[in-house]
Symmetry: D2
Subunit: 262 residues, 4 copies
């Protein structure tokens, strides 16, 4: 076939097809390249996307999640003070766990890097103290970067230290805290920091957080190790590490914890 006929055929095919697609993509602009493309050229078939069965209801885990706590036991957790020992917190009603003040942090047996985390928590049933002293706990990603837990319901403290803050780094966008007898959820997308082969920081960690379904951290950069005192920085390169829950002396409660590696 002579080249000119080939082009004619292509042009015809394209024009009629576009006419059909017209009402579906009303803003289609003129082509930017000198030769028209065809719709199939921008279809990508491989790799095929893996199937995940989502949870039937909020809080339950999708099929590819690692369940860290479902109310029945603390088998996925150990004491941070002595990782050879069981997690020293208590299980209540085969439903949730509660911090045992003074017993220390607990941490997962498994290590994680980039992940999606779902966790539910409740402030202590009895409201005591105020500011940082009320219902204080926290989730540490890779043992180092804290998503703050606090009873921030009618409890003013510094903005970068209230519930859903990245502690002393980023205040949450809004305060979506429920009352002390209600359960709260955090749904988190965590991106671990990257380090070069020689140990220098390559890319800082980032985090997105929903608090009770409301966006409170929008892909913010985590500026370094969580510090009670001092300037943000990354003192050392590290790989995947445990997720930690903080004992800050308050009887914070937890349930429905699951994580998906990304």
């Amino acid at each position: 076939m002579k080249p000119q006929y080939l082009w004619l055929a292509l042009a015809t095919f394209t024009i009629s097809f576009n006419a059909q697609a017209q009402h579906q993509y009303p803003n289609t602009p003129p082509e930017v390249s000198p030769m028209p493309m065809k719709p199939e050229m921008t279809e990508i078939w491989e790799p095929e996307v893996p199937v995940v069965t989502p949870a039937k209801k909020l809080g339950d885990s999708p099929s590819d999640a690692i369940v860290l706590f479902d109310g029945s036991n603390l088998d996925q957790w150990v004491s941070q003070n002595d990782p050879t020992q069981p997690a020293p917190w208590k299980i209540v009603d085969n439903d949730h766990m509660e911090v045992v003040p003074g017993s220390g942090f607990i941490q997962t047996k498994m290590k994680f890097g980039d992940c999606q985390l779902h966790i539910e928590f409740s402030a202590p049933d009895k409201v005591e103290s105020d500011g940082q002293g009320r219902g204080n706990s926290g989730v540490f990603f890779q043992k180092r970067y804290e998503l703050q837990i606090l009873d921030s319901f009618n409890n003013r403290t510094y903005s970068n230290g209230q519930a859903a803050s990245i502690y002393k780094d980023h205040a949450p966008l809004v305060n979506a805290m429920r009352g002390p007898l209600e359960w709260n959820t955090y749904d988190v997308v965590y991106t671990a920091p990257r380090f070069k082969a020689d140990g220098r920081l390559d890319a800082p960690a980032r985090i997105t957080v929903f608090h009770n379904g409301v966006l409170v951290q929008n892909n913010v950069t985590i500026n370094g190790l969580t510090l009670y005192t001092g300037l943000h920085h990354y003192p050392e390169a590290h790989g995947d590490d445990v997720i930690t829950l903080q004992d800050h002396g308050n009887k914070t409660q937890f349930r429905n914890i699951w994580v998906r590696k990304l």
Copy 2:
């Protein structure tokens, strides 16, 4: 109390508090600067974080959301073919809306830029056709950038065209689609593209999507206007614009739609 005593009190308090905090932040590294700081120096109190009352249950809207559809009426929507006309889709059981095939896209009356969107959808109850022909619809942000809706339950098509894809741009990370008689949710964080004063693109749009609670788009860059045919690009600068729902000829159903401006 006179100022000098105030400082004394603070110093004392800080020292004792640090002692107490020791076991709480076990990885605290040596100071990086030549003069030690104090904990209060990294507290940021202003601005105060605004309070938002979260929804009581999944799907309901938080207190600062704009409700685009709650099952009762289509007052927030108009026809895209003729925005002076009401949205031509039907309401079913005072619960959800359904595409009327051939009636055209519908769009919001209000315009949006950066936003958090919650939307629920269901594939048509009767499973018909396959590939792109089964349960096809879509959500367009700013009238231009499509988050694909499709019945992707046991329905193979090109990966960058299945449910929860950014159409012809990004396949979803996983396929978390529910069966055709079940409701699906999309929870989206959308960041609009930025343009310079002279019209050039300054930063492309980005999007994060959860499908039934499972992360499927992780802050990906949207490479341009959604096109059925051709290369990704941003043909024109624009500001806030309507959210559009696509009539692709299938009786897709929608409910519980709300948006929060970011």
Copy 3:
């Protein structure tokens, strides 16, 4: 023409063309989409790229630059203390300018946002004092964000305060300082911070710097207003603003200053 022949013709054409291109792009992988493309489809012809005549020699300005100082006069500069007054620094040998200690900062008459800046400077001919006291000056972008100038030749100070640091924010990657009788160059790509319509920070400033042709800042994020004391932050939204040169009490010299708006 029947569809199957059309495809055959296309396939043949594509294969032979690829054979020709083989030695030029040896790593060409298999197509990712189901229909082969053609080379012309990824050619973008519009808009045409504007021509700029580069300088004949290092330091001179390309044809689209705004010359801020060429040795002859200070017409592009005013006093920062009183912008209605001429710049109070002196011109030497119709070749360079020199800080008049105590006379105050000088600033451009024009305002800039994103820009490429070329500037040459020399430490005072007489080496005096040490640390921050030796040959201290600085270039402030948008009147707020300082690229440090210091005589850092055999002169230790804090790393984030030496020549080519973003003052108190980022140390340079290396110290490429020349001796005090030699001229230094900074070649800078500066990206201004973006603010939302309501005044919130949208994207922080970024900067790339070459010091005497050596990369010393690699697209780093500027964390806020340059502060002598306190934590980095962006206290206010602002638009384009003047470029400032600092009088820090030392007789720093400058020549060949030009800027291109980006």
Copy 4:
């Protein structure tokens, strides 16, 4: 002095010191934290910044560079067709090298990832052909990502294929090409793509390019392997790799090539 007086003294000192610093940092805003800091607290002294001796004149290499070509020999290069063989291009006047058309690409013996590259090139002395046929060559980073070389002086071609384009990905911001008897420089900051342990792309490559001292690529994202035909993508994970110079059938000339690992 007793502690309480110390704090008092410090407070006083801070106030007076700020007064002194006033004219140096005129925009200093109020403190954002409840306890004033001191200037030393934001000084970072470690690690000390390494010293690099810059070149005496443009084109020469700084002290930490790897010289890939200085006019004397091709010892750092081999044939791409057969890396066990010497580079088949010729050296002219102990000053520069010239492509031997048909002999094939040449590549470095060493492999590189992130780097700063300086390279000088000249179009063939005799102007022949036009468009992509005139003075075509290219620099491939990691053997895969091409910074285009072409005689783009008065020679229109597609914008994303002219000199200083990232071939078929990004047109240059401006055309800063010199005439065919003059030498051109490219100064490049190249950031390699990152891949996850399982081979997925983690972050695409990025590049900044100055052409004859004029910014032409401003930290753009490289969207994938350079392809003559087809859509951008990253088909495989890879580590450091050779830098390649292209034989496209034209007698392009090169001199002064050096690289610094970043």
